[in-house]
C-alpha cells in the first residue's frame, strides 16, 4: 500500500518560486508521469517526494504518512537518475546490493533479490562487471535494478532515458513499461518528452510554471485538454491555433477564421459555445490529423476548403502540409498519395468533430 499525496506543495529557491502549491493524489500501483517544459517544477516536485529537496510549504505523504521531515533513506523509495549515478568502483552486483548491505540484510536474501531483479532486467550475465564496462542502456538497466532490488514503496524516475540515443530510448521505454507490469510498484516518472509521458503513464500530470495544468489519462489529455498549454504541449506536430470569431448564421453557429474561411460549428456543440457568441479573443484549435485530403464521401462536420501549400514534409506513412491562414501557419496531415507538393493548390477537409474553442485571455478550453 503506497499511495503518494501532495498537499499544497510549495518550493521556493531563495525568493524564486519553483513549485507553487500543487495538489496531487497518486494511488497505489499507479504509474504517474510528470511532464512539462524545462523549469516547470517537475523535477523539483520529484526531488521533494524523494526527500532530496527541502519543502517550503505543504505536505508530502507516502502511504498515508506525512514524510516532510523524514530523511530519504527512511521514506522507502528508490530513485533512478538521468545520468544513472552508478557507484563506479563497485561491480553491478555490489551496486545493486549496496542499499541492502547497508540495511544488514542476510546474505542469501541479498543474492536472491539481486538475481531476481537481474532476471527481470535481463542483466544476469553482467553482475560481475564494472559500470564503465557497460553501454548506456545496460547502465540504465542496472540503475533500475538497484531500485527494484530494494522493493520500495515508490519508484521515482528522473528523466531516466534522456541520456540514451533515440532508438535505445524507445526500446527502454517499452522495457520500463514491462518492468512496471511485472513489479507493480507505485511509480512517479519525470520527463520533458510528451511521447514518453503518453506511452508510459496511467495518468499524466502536465506542469507549467510551477503549477499543475491538467491531470488525466493520456487519452483525456489528448482529446479533451482543459487549457491552451496542454492542447499545445501534448501531441506532435502541435495543435493549430487560429484567432477566430463566433457568429450566428442561418441554422447555427459558425467559426470565422477569415473573410473567406468559416466553418459551421457541430450541432452538438452549439449549446456549449452559444454563451461565447460575439466574444473577442477566441482561438480555434484543430489538430493536424483533423486536417486531411479531400475525400469522395464527407462525414458529418467535415468541411472542404482550398489552400495553397507553403511547404510539404513527406514522412513516409503520411505527408505533413503547411499553409497560411491570415498569416498564421497551419499544419495538416495528408495521405502521401494525395499529390501534395510545395506551392500547389489543394483541396483539404477540416474535421470539426474534434475542434476546440479556447479563450485566449484565460487560456481555458471552452
Amino acid at each position: 500500500m503506497a499511495q503518494v499525496t501532495l498537499r499544497k506543495l510549495v518550493k521556493h529557491y531563495d525568493e524564486t518560486p519553483a513549485v507553487r502549491g500543487i495538489d496531487l493524489e497518486i494511488s497505489d500501483k499507479e504509474f504517474v508521469v510528470l511532464v512539462g517544459p524545462s523549469g516547470c517544477g517537475k523535477s523539483t516536485t520529484l526531488r521533494m517526494i524523494a526527500g532530496l529537496e527541502d519543502i517550503t510549504g505543504g505536505d508530502v505523504l507516502i502511504g498515508g504518512e506525512v514524510v516532510n521531515d523524514v530523511p530519504p533513506k527512511d521514506r522507502d523509495i528508490a530513485m533512478v537518475f538521468q545520468n544513472y549515478a552508478l557507484y563506479p568502483h563497485m561491480s553491478v552486483y555490489e551496486n545493486m546490493s549496496f542499499g541492502l548491505r547497508l540495511k544488514k540484510t542476510p546474505k542469501d536474501e541479498i543474492t536472491r533479490r539481486v538475481q531476481n531483479a537481474a532476471q527481470i532486467l535481463d542483466i544476469s550475465e553482467l553482475l560481475e562487471r564494472k559500470p564503465k564496462q557497460l553501454s548506456g542502456g545496460q547502465r540504465q538497466r542496472v540503475a533500475m535494478g538497484r531500485a527494484i532490488v530494494r522493493d520500495p514503496k515508490v519508484f521515482l524516475f528522473d528523466e531516466p532515458l534522456s541520456n540514451l540515443d533515440a532508438k535505445l530510448r524507445v526500446q527502454m521505454r517499452t522495457e520500463i513499461k514491462k518492468v512496471h507490469q511485472k513489479v507493480r510498484t507505485t511509480t512517479v516518472y519525470v520527463t520533458h518528452d510528451q511521447v514518453e509521458a503518453m506511452t508510459l503513464a496511467d495518468r499524466v500530470v502536465v506542469m507549467n510554471g510551477g503549477n499543475i495544468e491538467q491531470v488525466g489519462t493520456p487519452n483525456d489529455l489528448y482529446h479533451s485538454p482543459s487549457t491552451k498549454f496542454v492542447a499545445g504541449f501534448i501531441g506532435s506536430p502541435a495543435m493549430n491555433f487560429l484567432p477566430c470569431a463566433l457568429d450566428e448564421a442561418a441554422g447555427g453557429l459558425r467559426v470565422r477564421l477569415s473573410d473567406q474561411l468559416s466553418f459551421p460549428v457541430p450541432q452538438e456543440r452549439t449549446a456549449r459555445y452559444r454563451p461565447h457568441l460575439g466574444r473577442g479573443r477566441l482561438l480555434f484549435g484543430l489538430r493536424p490529423e483533423n486536417i486531411m485530403e479531400q475525400r469522395p464521401h464527407l462525414e458529418a462536420n467535415q468541411n472542404p476548403f482550398e489552400v495553397e501549400l507553403e511547404v510539404t514534409e513527406p514522412m513516409g506513412m503520411e505527408t505533413l502540409v503547411y499553409f497560411l491562414v491570415q498569416g498564421m501557419e497551419v499544419c495538416g496531415r495528408v495521405n502521401p498519395n494525395a499529390g501534395a507538393r510545395d506551392g500547389k493548390r489543394i483541396k483539404l477537409v477540416a474535421d470539426l468533430n474534434n475542434m476546440h474553442l479556447i479563450d485566449d485571455e484565460s487560456g481555458k478550453v471552452l
Binding site: K73, F81, N83, A85, Y87, P88, H89, F98, P131, R150
Partner: protein, 302 residues
C-alpha cells in the same frame, strides 16, 4: 566549372599530406625538447651518483667530473654505518609518515564538508583554506617559534629542539593545500552519486568511506604524495626549530654534520643526498599508476 574543379583537386589532395607532415614536425620537435628536458633534470642525480662513487682523493684531484676512475662504495658504507645518518633518516621517515596520516585525517573530512555539505559560509571558508597556503613558511617560522616558546612557558611541554614537534608543525603547510586539492576532487564527483547513496540509506560517514574515498582515490593519492614530499624535503622549519644533532632530519642533518667548518665531505654529501632522494622516488613509482587511472570513468554518462 571544370577548371575550378581541377584547381581544387590537387590542393584538396595535398592538404592531408601537409597535415601529416606538420604533425611529424611537431612530434619531432616535441621529442627534441623532451630529450633536452630529460637530460637537464637527470643531470643532478647522475652527478650525485658519480660523486658518491668517488673517493675523497679522486674528488680533490679534480679529474673528469662525469667519469669515475676508481669506483668505491666507501661513502655509502660510511653513511649506513654511522648512527647519525640513520637517526636523521628515521626522524625524517617517522615525521613524514605521521604528517601524511595527520594531514589526511584532517584534510579529507574537511574537504568533504567544505566541498559537499553546503552550509553557511562554506565557500568563504574554502577560499580561506587556500589563502592560508599562500603565506610562505619563511614568514611564518618566527611567529611559530614564538608560539612554541609560549607553549613551553605556559604548559611546560618542550616543543623546541624536539624532532617529533615537527609532526605538529608540518601540517600547517600540508593541510591547506591537500584540503584544497580534495575539495576540487570531491566537487568533480557527480552530485547524483551522493543522492543515490542517501536514498540507498547511507549516512554522511558511510557516504564518505564507501563512496567518496574509493572514487576519489586518485585525488587522495595525489594529496598523499604532496604531503609526503613537503614533509620529506622541508628545510626551513627543522633548521629553525631543531638544534641538537640527534634531533635533526635528513636535509638539515646532511648540511650540518657533513660540512665541518669549511671542509666539505663531498663524496658523503652526494651519497647521502642520493639515498635521501630515494624514498619519494620509490613512492612515486608505485603510486603513479593509481594516480593516472581515472577511477571516476563510468560513474555517470560517458
Amino acid at each position: 566549372m571544370s577548371a575550378s574543379a581541377q584547381a581544387i583537386g590537387p590542393r584538396a589532395a595535398a592538404k592531408p599530406s601537409s597535415l601529416k607532415r606538420s604533425r611529424r614536425w611537431a612530434l619531432w620537435w616535441s621529442y627534441v625538447f623532451l630529450v633536452l628536458f630529460a637530460i637537464f633534470f637527470l643531470m643532478p642525480p647522475v652527478y650525485m651518483l658519480i660523486m658518491g662513487l668517488k673517493t675523497s682523493g679522486e674528488i680533490a684531484a679534480m679529474t673528469n667530473p662525469w667519469w669515475v676512475f676508481h669506483p668505491t662504495l666507501e661513502n655509502f658504507k660510511a653513511l649506513l654505518g654511522s648512527t647519525q645518518y640513520l637517526t636523521f633518516f628515521r626522524n625524517s621517515a617517522v615525521i613524514a609518515v605521521a604528517v601524511v596520516i595527520i594531514t589526511m585525517l584532517i584534510a579529507v573530512p574537511a574537504a568533504f564538508s567544505l566541498g559537499r555539505m553546503k552550509f553557511w559560509g562554506s565557500t568563504t571558508l574554502a577560499t580561506g583554506v587556500f589563502l592560508t597556503y599562500l603565506i610562505p613558511d619563511s614568514l611564518l617560522f618566527i611567529p611559530l617559534f614564538k608560539i612554541m616558546a609560549w607553549v613551553h612557558e605556559t604548559t611546560g611541554i618542550a616543543l623546541l629542539n624536539h624532532w617529533w614537534a615537527l609532526i605538529i608543525i608540518y601540517p600547517t603547510l600540508t593541510v591547506p593545500f591537500c584540503t584544497w586539492i580534495m575539495i576540487g576532487y570531491f566537487q568533480s564527483i557527480p552530485k547524483e552519486l551522493d543522492e543515490a547513496a542517501l536514498i540507498d540509506g547511507a549516512g554522511y560517514i558511510q557516504m564518505l568511506t564507501k563512496i567518496f574515498l574509493p572514487v576519489a582515490l586518485p585525488g587522495i593519492i595525489a594529496a598523499t604524495i604532496f604531503a609526503f614530499t613537503v614533509s620529506w624535503s622541508e628545510f626551513l622549519y627543522p633548521m629553525a626549530f631543531t638544534v641538537s644533532t640527534d634531533q635533526l632530519v635528513l636535509p638539515v642533518g646532511i648540511v650540518t654534520t657533513l660540512i665541518k667548518g669549511d671542509v666539505y665531505n663531498w663524496g658523503q654529501i652526494m651519497a647521502a643526498c642520493l639515498m635521501g632522494a630515494a624514498p619519494p622516488l620509490i613512492i612515486y613509482a608505485f603510486l603513479m599508476d593509481y594516480y593516472i587511472a581515472g577511477l571516476t570513468a563510468g560513474a555517470t554518462k560517458g
